[in-house]
Symmetry: none
Subunit: 422 residues, 2 copies
Amino acid sequence: MIAEIITIGDELLIGQVVDTNSAWLAEQLNLIGIRVKQISSLSDDREHILTGLKEAASRADLILITGGLGPTKDDITKHTLCEYFDTELIFHQATFENVQALFKLRGFPVTDLNRKQAEVPANCIPLSNSNGTAPGMWFEQDGCIYVSMPGVPFEMKTMVSNVVLPRLAKKYNSTFIIHKTILTQGVGESFLASTIESWEDQLPENLKLAYLPQPGIVRLRLTATGSDKLFVNKLLKLEQAKLQKLIPDLIFGYDDETLELVVGRLLKQKEKTLATAESCTGGYLAHLLTSIAGSSEYYKGSVIAYSNAVKVDLLGVSHQAIESEGAVSEMVVRQMAEGVRKKMDTDYALATSGIAGPDGGSEEKPVGTTWIALATPEKVIAKKFLFGEHRGRNIRKASLAALNMLRMELLEVPEKNAPASH
Amino acid sequence: MIAEIITIGDELLIGQVVDTNSAWLAEQLNLIGIRVKQISSLSDDREHILTGLKEAASRADLILITGGLGPTKDDITKHTLCEYFDTELIFHQATFENVQALFKLRGFPVTDLNRKQAEVPANCIPLSNSNGTAPGMWFEQDGCIYVSMPGVPFEMKTMVSNVVLPRLAKKYNSTFIIHKTILTQGVGESFLASTIESWEDQLPENLKLAYLPQPGIVRLRLTATGSDKLFVNKLLKLEQAKLQKLIPDLIFGYDDETLELVVGRLLKQKEKTLATAESCTGGYLAHLLTSIAGSSEYYKGSVIAYSNAVKVDLLGVSHQAIESEGAVSEMVVRQMAEGVRKKMDTDYALATSGIAGPDGGSEEKPVGTTWIALATPEKVIAKKFLFGEHRGRNIRKASLAALNMLRMELLEVPEKNAPASH
């Protein structure tokens, strides 16, 4: 089965918005064995959309369309689809009820404009939008499937995952392409590559490995293909287990997991509590932890001690330590971790202090120098890192490194692969 | 002049790589008055590229092609362009000398493969690549210009800036397209649209308005076209000023500015300091503030009081207030703001307490209910918001709303347009 993706919107063609929807869609289609032939971004223009649809239909069996829906765009996509299929708009009660329910929840009045959003081409199957007012639309004509969806990534992705992919998978039996993403924290791409070289070299031919680095995290994507789903899955599991044994300290999770999710799950399982004290990470570590629903069960809070006065007054760091060692030092970060653990009465505490940049570096302590401490009921561990020059990346890397220190402590994983700075 | 952009590469079609080249190219073309009609991503396939070129040539006067060059791709683009123009590859001495010089610099030996990279279609003008080995190629046929460039963003961008754009600008005297983005916070897209309806209706024909909503922020893009650059700029400024007068409370900045940047700048100008106390935003507000380099000048820190014990012990919130009103209440959020302002000895303090979700809602206080307080040297202001159902978006919306409350206070802007919940 061959698919094409059409994204509609002038904002893409003037370069204001980067089209991230298409890459995500292509990846999802690949997972169920559907190959994408072409991706096209078209303007909010009736004639242009008509031509685009015709060209795509001549090459593909499946056309996924995003964008051009919604009141301020004059619903250009919906009207053009009517023209393309030679049909007209009809009012769809279930869609209108969804709009009404959504607006009631948010306390807004339903206007005539919203009533219009519940109109869909007569020949389509409307697809429910659980996160917005514009419905999706599923069409079939001359052996080709057309699916029109909103362009807001958040609405589109939920619709694809919950409605479109299950419908497609049900309709077609295809070759299996299965991906497994292995998530690592602690070392950069090239260090990781040399650490797992022996494992990579022995991978069978139908298993491919890709490195997908992000600041502080390297994702490894294993892609297996084959006609026997059970066999392909078994092979993936086998290689995954070998790798897990090789780098247990670096692997923190799989697929859509995050380090904050994994750490939160461990704390919950062990019925332990956590507090944080942040200087250089400035709240980002707390934000990661509290982005997980239910985190209040194990996370009590943080003191963001951006100024030295706050370090002394709220965390009990000694004036003398700051004077003699500086705020970015092992002594201060240890006192921060111990201080917040005592103040918030938790089992564990993490503390960060570093030079995020771009200014504030010195020869002795260049930008990127970061101390992280972990206080447990028994001890305090402190570690020095040297990240890079970029403020945003340093903040993220330090927060992830802190979470990984706690993960290893909770799992009692000995550290063997991670160098101190990366 | 109408352009199309064609990006070639299987990596785009399996979703491994997001196409960021096209948005950048579109923006550059716009700046010199060239409109992009369509962006297409094609596979590394001869026939597909031939069709793509023909379709694009039927619509556009300029076709920019990136990718499909380089030894690992078998130079698919170069061979296909030869076929498209019915010509053959010839050896280009200057290109070869560029490859040799580059390799000498990097200390690599020049191989036969590299010699092949210096072959170009006989009918093209080779464009020098200062950052790589594959040359760009400029073709003209039947009134249409084709420019083929490497897909590596770094090589492509340098080539476009240094060679392609100057060539295009010299060849065409074009109309000017100028964009101005106006950033608003506080209301949703439809409320904003009805608030500025009268202004929108009176816009001259060569000025177009687009709504680009994000969680908590709606960007308004004004696009002006005309042959007189000065006049177009003047027109934009005039309409921008009218809008500023209409919704001063909602507009927080322009173009690439962020709310945290604007608020930080104001605090710095007025030599005032800020602290925060966060419950539902869980550190995200602190993170936004500290993401700005130099924020330690005005931002002292935060207490993330995720548990009630921390609210009482570290912020001095009264047990009784939590018991009688609940943690998400006007009384508690006021005490949080006052408490942190006193503890950290700042001029201003912001506090948040809400139900971020997905759990924890009740009939009286549904998910999304959020109280935000601002303490100043003279007073405490508190405001209730009702955001949506999604944890991540609620956290962001609450943080932005808090920043905007402070912005309005610092600028002494009276609130007139923002409803309490949106």
